[in-house]
Amino acid sequence: MTTSPNAPAIVIQGLTKTYASGLQALKPVDLTIAKGEIFALLGPNGAGKTTLISIVCGIVNPTTGSVLADGYDIQTQFREARTRIGLVPQELTTDAFETVLATVTFSRGLFSRAPNPAFIEKILRDLSLWDKKDNKIMTLSGGMKRRVMIAKALSHEPEILFLDEPTAGVDVELRRDMWALVRTLRDRGVTIILTTHYIEEAEEMADRVGVILKGELILVEDKTTLMKKLGRKTLTLNLIETLEAVPAELAEWNPTLIADGHELQYEFDANAEDTGVPSLIRRMEALGIGFKDLNTRQSSLEDIFVSLVHQSSSQEKAA
């Protein structure tokens, strides 16, 4: 398949969507996703993640704005654009009465690709579906159906793959399998855009993270940079003797007592020049508060995400 070598995988400019009901699902969104990147789109329910994906894939009409997929406009050059895109939707929407092999073969043809039984067999084997190829989809478990959805999306060898909540409701084993599959696809040069509720998933796989709230893309950042920039660390000190309350002399650090007074926790900015950790420990020594162990924990992407959501809600209330 001919591609535009220098074009980013996805270029979204000024994309908005207002439904007939008046609901503004997307405020102007601008986003560029490079080829071969794994991009995680995070956001609570109703934030606009699925609307954004649906517009790029051609399922929902945009109100304004443009989208290029591999350099091709999704509206005026929809054939070129859509041939390059694969979509695994959030819902398990499959033809219940079709067999696994028939439905995956159907998808390949639908996306304008010549029959290739060997390739279909490879996909089904990779997804542990080959033994089920003659089974009707209605007889499969939820996890297997999810695999079928992925097989259908990969059947036409897309260069850009959208995974909308790919691991929602699947067991741990399948989730790990999917993560492995995503990495394999990335190694082959496939660009992957995934939405997820499992922040752990984004943390595990994504190169970049976008956070969408109420239709607005409030943040797009390299995952590592984001975690460095917004990440906070927590110091936990395991006390020798329990405390009933935080001594007034430690108030400036604002630590909290947890585990029935057995542990003292102090949250600090890891990037700050003065983290406050050495001075806290010195003050504790002066007060005769000993500790037998300590550990620090970097805040997770989930912590960052929750903090961003709360920040946004607070700003809205203040306004």
Partner: protein, 256 residues
């Protein structure tokens, strides 16, 4: 990339045909049995007591009308169900996100529905030959009307399938509009047998023209002139094409 997704059209067409084969009792056997019962009741039992119409025995006279009745209902059912079911189950996402244009989608769904109902029409014709003596004076015209009618009503069914928001709506127009119009459109009688006032009123029923043209291809005579029949068929076809074009242009009930 070419401007026509032949693989895509073939995939949808084959999928729809496979669905008919999976449900062969519902798709083929049931309509054939129902039509055979019409022949037994109206053709043999009652028909033997009725006089000829335009020189054609009553049993043979009703054959074109019965085939048309099956064509109308099956074309609408096949096409409306074909596009409605993916909407209902959500699998329509795959069609909408695929590189298939509106023309290809219509060609595949309507082509499959029309193929199924045209084949069914021919099977019913063959079944009729067991019960009544048949003659087909204009076989090419007969086939032309058969295919045109199957295509037109499949397009109409496709429109209903997109429009429908539930299974009740899916059944509403075929049951409440098409079937009555067909029964009152000369399937079982010549409209010349009606009193003048009712004959005039009946001429506003578009189905009369379709059945009349099809009957003309068998016996060389119909309730209205063949030109009117051809014009009515093409008129309905063009109207359906116009509505389908508008539906895709606006994304009506397909894309929000």
């Amino acid at each position: 990339m070419t401007g026509f997704n032949a693989y895509g059209v073939w995939a949808i067409y084959r999928f729809e045909m496979a669905r008919a084969l999976r449900t062969v009792w519902q798709s083929i056997v049931t309509p054939v049995i129902t039509t055979a019962l019409y022949f037994v009741v109206f053709g043999s039992a009652i028909g033997s007591r009725m006089t000829e119409i335009d020189g054609v025995p009553y049993g043979a006279f009703i054959v074109p009308g019965l085939i048309m009745l099956s064509l109308f209902t099956q074309s609408i059912f096949n096409a409306s169900f074909g596009i409605y079911f993916p909407k209902f189950t959500g699998t329509i996402y795959e069609i909408l996100s695929a590189p298939v244009g509106p023309f290809e989608i219509v060609l595949a769904y309507v082509g499959a529905a029309a193929t199924k109902s045209a084949v069914l029409g021919l099977i019913i014709l063959a079944t009729a030959a067991f019960f009544v003596p048949l003659q087909i004076l204009h076989p090419v015209w007969m086939l032309t009307f058969l295919i045109l009618t199957a295509t037109t009503f499949s397009l109409f069914g496709f429109i209903i399938g997109i429009w429908a928001n539930g299974f009740e709506q899916l059944q509403m127009i075929p049951m409440l509009v098409i079937t009555p119009l067909t029964f009152l459109g000369g399937s079982f009688y010549s409209i010349d047998m009606l009193p003048p006032v009712w004959r005039t009123i009946t001429l506003f029923n578009p189905v009369v023209y379709l059945i009349s043209g099809f009957r003309w291809s068998f016996y060389g005579s119909g309730d209205v002139g063949i030109v009117w029949s051809v014009a009515a068929t093409f008129g309905f076809l063009l109207a359906c094409l116009g509505v389908v074009w508008w539906m895709f242009k606006t994304g009506y009930r397909l894309k929000s």
